[in-house]
């Protein structure tokens, strides 16, 4: 070996000079390789397996991710992060009973932080929804909110279940509680939707006006106002709002790949204008580009309404009033 002193200096220089050299070491594939080496070197540990599972998930390799997480659970049966991740992955894989099992196990971990408990309850709610147990899904949302009253997504999902289960009064009260506790603007909008679904037109209109005034992009709010105005039999004003909303939506709609949130708005505007076929088409397009269950359900409802078989009677109100 050459003199250590001179080599230290030389190596330091080299190290710093080489820092700028291109090296794509941070990609998920490289991370997985490095983590795999660590697992061989240090032996299996829950932390490293969790890290590797996350990288697998990024690559869409859910099966590999689940396998790592199952190994991690064996090593650290009380690691709530691992259990939470595993439940989520299994749910993504469509293995609902497995996801439910892991969620239940996670809930039994002693000393679980309140935020973690709420997050796990929401996963359990999704599992139950996937199994068609609507009441249990709703109960889990409510319980999650008892543990973490700041969880906006739980308020929104609870509201959606209450709507499906015909609990309009509870829905409005729940959202008002959420607004008090979090101040979240999304809940303000959802409460107005609840008022509209409930047919409280005047109250909804009063809540809509200040929001509309404060908005730069008014399309969504004009559609909401149109619903309220229709309910109050002010059809001309409602149609004016809908036409104006459609103009704004067209201006904002991307050329090639569509924006599902704008498609959902356009579908509703068209639905309210009585353009049922066009609305169904928009819901279909929205479902195809990330609109999720909401778009699918709305499209299905409208098709059934068209064929005289309403799926959601409480929402036919606005379609039958055209």
């Amino acid at each position: 070996m050459a003199s250590i002193g001179t080599r230290i200096g030389w190596s330091l220089l080299c190290a710093f000079l080489c820092l700028g050299v291109a090296r794509a070491h941070d990609s998920p594939e490289h991370q997985i390789e490095a983590l795999s080496e660590r697992l061989i070197r240090e032996g299996a540990s829950a932390d490293v397996l969790l890290e590797r599972a996350i990288e697998y998930r990024v690559l869409g390799k859910l099966k590999e991710a689940a396998r790592d997480l199952q190994r991690a659970v064996r090593l650290a049966p009380s690691d709530s992060l691992v259990l939470l991740e595993l439940a989520q992955i299994e749910l993504q894989r469509g293995r609902v009973s497995e996801a439910l099992l892991w969620a239940r196990r996670a809930l039994q971990v002693p000393g679980l932080a309140t935020g973690e408990r709420a997050a796990i309850l929401m996963i359990r709610s999704h599992c139950r929804a996937a199994q068609g147990s609507k009441l249990e899904a709703l109960d889990d949302c409510s319980e999650a909110l008892r543990w973490n009253p700041q969880l906006i997504s739980a308020y929104l999902e609870r509201s959606a279940w209450q709507q499906r289960l015909h609990r309009p009064h509870e829905r409005i009260l729940g959202l008002e509680e959420g607004i008090r506790r979090t101040g979240a603007g999304l809940l303000v909008a959802e409460r107005i939707e609840a008022l509209l679904d409930e047919g409280q037109w005047q109250q909804a209109l009063e809540a809509i006006e200040p929001e509309l005034t404060a908005s730069r992009l008014q399309g969504t709010w004009k559609i909401r106002r149109a619903r309220a105005l229709k309910g109050l039999s002010r059809r001309t004003e409602a149609e004016r709002d809908l036409q104006s909303a459609l103009e704004e939506i067209e201006l904002r709609m991307p050329r090639v790949v569509k924006d599902s949130s704008l498609l959902m708005d356009r579908a509703l505007a068209r639905e309210l204008l009585g353009q049922t076929e066009a609305a169904i088409q928009d819901y279909k397009l929205a479902a195809g580009c990330g609109g999720g269950e909401e778009a699918i359900e709305a499209g299905r409802r409208l098709r059934r309404t068209r064929s005289g078989r309403p799926l959601w009677p409480w929402r036919t109100q606005r379609t039958t009033q055209h």
């Binding site: 190290a15 941070d26 999304l186």
Partner: protein, 683 residues
């Protein structure tokens, strides 16, 4: 070294009754040593600014153990005539759990009153965090502040301890902010990028108003200690007088969760959840928005929340955009929608989802500039709109201006006044602020790709935005500008300018892992070790604490063979290939405050390193260990290099630890065989 000697004495004399005295002396030593190691005592995290608005700002800091927190402020550094009411100061604490081993001084803090405080997650035991909200301020005004323990002033009386409140929303004046990403390594490049920016700003004469971090501020897993040494200590001089607005990266995501709002990331920052700084209340710290003058900023969590339009985050984004009325709209998060740096946005699901689900909402809302990181490179796009495909990204018909955007070159990108949908945005990937760089190809939408460390400075003045990439030397390496005036014609280019194809080097140079910038030496080079040469130890007991190594030779490093001889005293093993085994104790006061351990080591040819009996690193040794070590490669380079030790959080303990190393030559006739290790702790 004194501590080490005391602990050795303690461990050796434990049975003889002298142990109690030795332990007492050790604890005394530990306390003295802790005092010496932290010159900012009682601070363990110096005061920094968070969450500002025209009338409010937050000052956060941490101490070791509790203090009587007082924050005073005023418009002159020597006259802090206002005091933050105690009720406006939130205290959080890390007090460990029942039965968890901890230093005696922290045990006494586990009072019912302290235990009822909001919890800090994974902070070192004994840490208290204070979050003071200063309210009732005037907009666009410079104030000075000081932190006190009762009447004792803890921060120096300095004009640097200042903040400037935001102007009233809509105010048009020049604004400057700094953007960086993927910086939290604690390595030299991180410091150079920070200093490069500071030098450029100083020369230009206009200070920062605030800064944005697009994530990965605390490698490798966003632990609290990593936040401390790789973010808070690294940027202290900027943190004390300008607000950092953060976005969570995937590395922070290992220990912090957007769905729970729990973890070191959420402990570290205060961000608006109730529209305290403008925008629409998000109700969560995972994503938020704020206004600064005539700019509206949106921060998203691209790591672990639902990115779909039906998810809560995307719905909030849409609702926030409806309300945004500023002249400029800038969004930031971690995962880039377009990149061919160290990540590939055409292959990775997270990046594709961001592009497919979030960009359409933003672009139909009129976004002007998107800032991201994750990919360790600087990439800056042309004026771009509508490229949301889940397939490979193409530029044709999505580029609205294929010039370089440089006012000195092809000219600024032009957009209409105000926020208009689909008039184009510039995408900047700024993941080049500290981590090792990388590139896999060329994104067709990028106008500039630079594989060098640096950060981005953005100036907004009226209808003009100018972005500059400043490299680690403080040199401007890219400039682009956006001008929003009138109503220019929007045209889509069917054959836009194409960036030159990237050709990866045939033989990529593997750069050595850089050492941590700030470190303490736990075992010096040339230190004394217990050494076994010319034989192999039985099993793995020799790597563990409690092993009787008294029969091993006590010798000073370096251990090298010279011409076939080893240490002068030892012999090459009978199997032919020379091997060497060394072990030594070292002391760590509080293991949960250690970010990283690493060897600064000169070796030939392969080594396996053990911490308290657990293998933590091996280099150039294929399989197995000791007598059975196989696949030993020739070390091709020479000299000392830095070798980080993995998983120390799992194996390191308070007090005495044992480091053991086995070193093997590549072949029987190896003449360079040898070892000279030093142990460093990232400080």
């Amino acid at each position: 070294m004194k501590e080490s000697a005391l602990l050795t004495l303690f461990s050796q004399q434990k049975r003889s009754g002298l142990g109690r005295w030795a332990r007492w002396l050790w604890l005394l030593g530990v306390s003295v040593s802790a005092l010496a190691q932290n010159p900012h005592r009682p601070f363990t995290r110096l005061p920094y600014l968070q969450g500002s608005s025209p009338t409010q700002i937050h000052v956060l800091w941490r101490t070791e153990g509790p203090i009587q927190p007082v924050v005073r402020w005023g418009t002159r550094p020597d006259r802090l005539d206002q005091t933050v009411p105690l009720a406006a100061i939130v205290t959080r604490a890390s007090l460990g759990t029942n039965g968890q081993p901890m230093l005696p001084q922290w045990q006494s803090l586990r009072t019912p009153e302290n235990l009822s405080l909001p919890k800090l997650h994974s902070a070192p035991i004994g840490t208290f965090q204070y979050e003071a909200a200063i309210e009732g301020l005037s907009p666009d005004t410079v104030y000075y502040y000081g932190v006190f323990n009762g009447s004792e002033r803890l921060t120096a009386e300095s004009p640097e301890q200042r903040f400037q409140t935001q102007p009233k929303p809509g105010t048009v004046r020049p604004y400057r902010f700094w953007v960086l990403g993927d910086s939290g390594t604690g390595r030299e490049a991180q410091r150079a990028v920070h200093e490069g920016m500071q030098a450029w700003v100083k020369q230009d004469g206009r200070p920062l108003d605030f800064w944005i971090h697009v994530g990965d501020m605390a490698y490798g897993t966003g632990r609290d200690v990593e936040f401390q040494s790789r973010f808070f200590e690294s940027y202290q001089t900027t943190l004390r007088n300008s607000v950092c607005w953060p976005a969570m990266g995937n590395h922070e995501g290992h220990t912090s969760k957007g769905s729970t709002g729990i973890g070191p990331y959420y402990d570290a920052y205060w961000v608006p959840t109730r529209a305290e700084s403008g925008g629409l209340a998000s109700g969560t710290e995972a994503y938020y928005s704020f206004d600064h003058g005539n700019i509206h900023f949106i921060c998203l969590d691209s790591h672990d929340l639902d990115r779909k339009p039906s998810g809560a985050m995307a719905k909030w984004l849409k609702a926030d955009l409806e309300k945004a009325k500023a002249e400029w709209l800038i969004a930031f998060w971690h995962h880039p929608p377009y990149t061919k740096g160290s990540h590939d946005s055409d292959k990775e699901a997270d990046l594709i989802e961001v592009r497919h689900h979030l960009l359409p909402i933003l672009e139909s809302g009129g976004v002007d500039l998107v800032l991201t990181g994750h990919s360790h490179v600087y990439e800056r796009s042309m004026l771009l709109d509508g490229a949301y495909s889940t397939n490979a990204t193409v530029a044709e018909n999505f580029i609205l201006d294929d010039g370089d955007g440089d006012p000195r070159g092809d000219g600024a990108y032009l957009k209409g006044a105000g926020l208009r949908p689909h008039e184009g945005a510039v995408q900047v990937v700024a993941g080049h602020s500290g981590a090792s760089l990388g590139r896999v190809g060329t994104s067709p939408v990028m106008r500039r790709t630079l594989v060098e460390h640096g950060s981005l400075l953005v100036d907004v003045e009226g209808d003009t935005l100018v972005g500059r990439m400043i490299n680690r030397e403080g040199v401007e390496r890219d400039r682009f500008s956006l001008v929003k005036r009138g109503a220019p014609l929007v045209r889509r280019l069917s054959l836009p300018w194409q960036p030159p194809e990237y050709k990866a080097p045939e033989k990529a140079t593997k750069s050595p892992y850089p050492p941590p910038l700030d470190h303490a030496v736990l075992i010096p080079a040339g230190g004394e070790w217990r050494v076994l040469s010319g034989a192999h130890p039985q099993g793995s007991l020799w790597t563990q604490p409690g092993f009787d190594d008294s029969s091993w030779l006590l010798a000073k490093a370096p251990f090298n063979s010279g011409r076939g001889r080893l240490l002068g005293e030892g012999r090459a093993s009978k199997e032919g290939r020379p091997s060497l085994y060394v072990r030594r104790n070292f002391t760590v006061t509080q293991a949960d405050t250690v970010t990283e351990l690493g060897l600064w080591v000169d070796y030939a040819d392969g080594i396996i390193v053990y911490l308290n009996g657990q293998e933590v690193t091996r280099v150039n040794v294929g399989r197995s260990s000791g007598r059975n070590a196989q696949g030993i490669k020739l070390r091709e380079d020479s000299g000392a290099v830095y070798v980080p030790l993995g998983s120390i959080a799992r194996f390191l303990v308070d007090g005495v630890n044992v480091l053991a190393i086995e070193c093997h030559a590549h072949s029987e006739g190896s003449i360079d065989f040898g070892l000279n290790p030093a142990l460093w702790m990232e400080d």
